[in-house]
Amino acid sequence: MSELVLCHHERWTVWVTRRASSEDIPLGARILAIADCYSTLQSDRPYRPARTVSESTAVLREFAGTSFDPALVEC
């Protein structure tokens, strides 16, 4: 769990660049990154209103393969 918390802001491409395999980001941390982003997009922020479900999904798809594990985004 400690490692998941440590890695939940690690981004897919950064990790791929730095390491041989992006699989080194624990699966749980890859899941948390997506869940955190998806939930945040759907809540109001001082700088923007909440996004709808379809808008949030579109953002996840846009960043699949760069910020997020593409296989998980398509789950």
């Binding site: 769990m1 400690s2 490692e3 918390v5 440590l6 939940h8 699966l27 948390l32 869940a35």
Partner: protein, 253 residues
């Protein structure tokens, strides 16, 4: 540190350096000597109430005697008065306060060991969690799996309290935390993880920003864009969170 604070902060007048050093030295010596029977009598396991009372009954008078005798000795020698008289007149009356302190410490130890503060004893769990489990489409090395494999327990009691604490600190809503947990658990299930692993992801989702405790609230609550320095400060929350949770994880080697 405690002795230094007692001798300097809010002290009446200025305490010379030798007095401050004497206070630090005498307190250190007292704690060291008094801790000898403490370790012998308590052992390493959670002690029973009877053991705690017995230990407090031995350690408290010992601590009181060493602590006050050293100070009374120093006063007696520096003012050329008989040490026993100084001790009897200035320190004997304070004995009950030491006993009361020991009773309080024994109670706190017993309460902590029994999880009355909602401590880590509520955490032990049944599930085994392998965060290195891979998505169906990809493989993961045995080394990576070993490194990411951890085992711990979870129950709902600490998670409710933690949720409130995290909400209060991070300024996020209960709905936000619940939805992160929901989405994370849904993805974990879709990835083919076991029930225990899904529970573990749910718990990690609750705790993922616990490291925000180390980030000042004015930064967390700032509506405008963060300065580079503030952003650097926010970035430490993952490392702090991992450090806080380090003992919760017990890797299976």
């Amino acid at each position: 540190m405690s002795a230094w604070a007692q001798s300097t902060l809010f002290a009446k007048g200025h305490n010379p350096l030798h007095r401050v050093l004497f206070s630090i030295g005498s307190l250190t010596l007292t704690v060291k000597v008094a801790s000898l029977p403490l370790a012998l009598m308590m052992g390493t396991d959670a002690a029973s109430l009877a053991t705690l009372v017995r230990t407090a009954a031995v350690v408290a008078p010992l601590y009181f005697f060493i602590n006050t005798a050293l100070v009374a000795g120093a006063i007696g020698l520096s003012t050329r008065q008989p040490v026993p008289r100084v001790w009897q007149r200035n320190f004997l009356w304070s004995a009950p306060s030491y006993l009361a302190g020991a009773a309080l410490a024994a109670f706190a130890t017993a309460a902590s060991a029994r999880g009355w503060f909602g401590g880590s004893r509520c955490w032990p769990c049944r599930s085994t969690w392998s965060s290195g489990v891979t998505t169906p489409s990809s493989g993961v090395s045995a080394k990576s799996r070993r490194r990411h494999t951890a085992r711990w327990k979870c129950s709902s009691r600490p998670s409710k309290r933690l949720r409130s604490a995290i909400e209060a600190k991070a300024g996020c809503t209960p709905e936000h935390i619940r939805s992160i947990q929901h989405y994370a658990a849904t993805l974990a299930e879709a990835s083919g993880l076991s029930d225990g692993e899904v529970q573990a992801v749910r718990m990690a989702a609750l705790l993922h920003d616990i490291g925000n405790m180390a980030v000042p609230e004015h930064i967390l609550a700032k509506p405008e864009a963060l300065t580079p320095e503030e952003f650097e400060r926010v970035k430490i929350h993952t490392r702090v969170g991992a450090e806080i949770l380090r003992d919760v994880r017990s890797p299976r080697r």
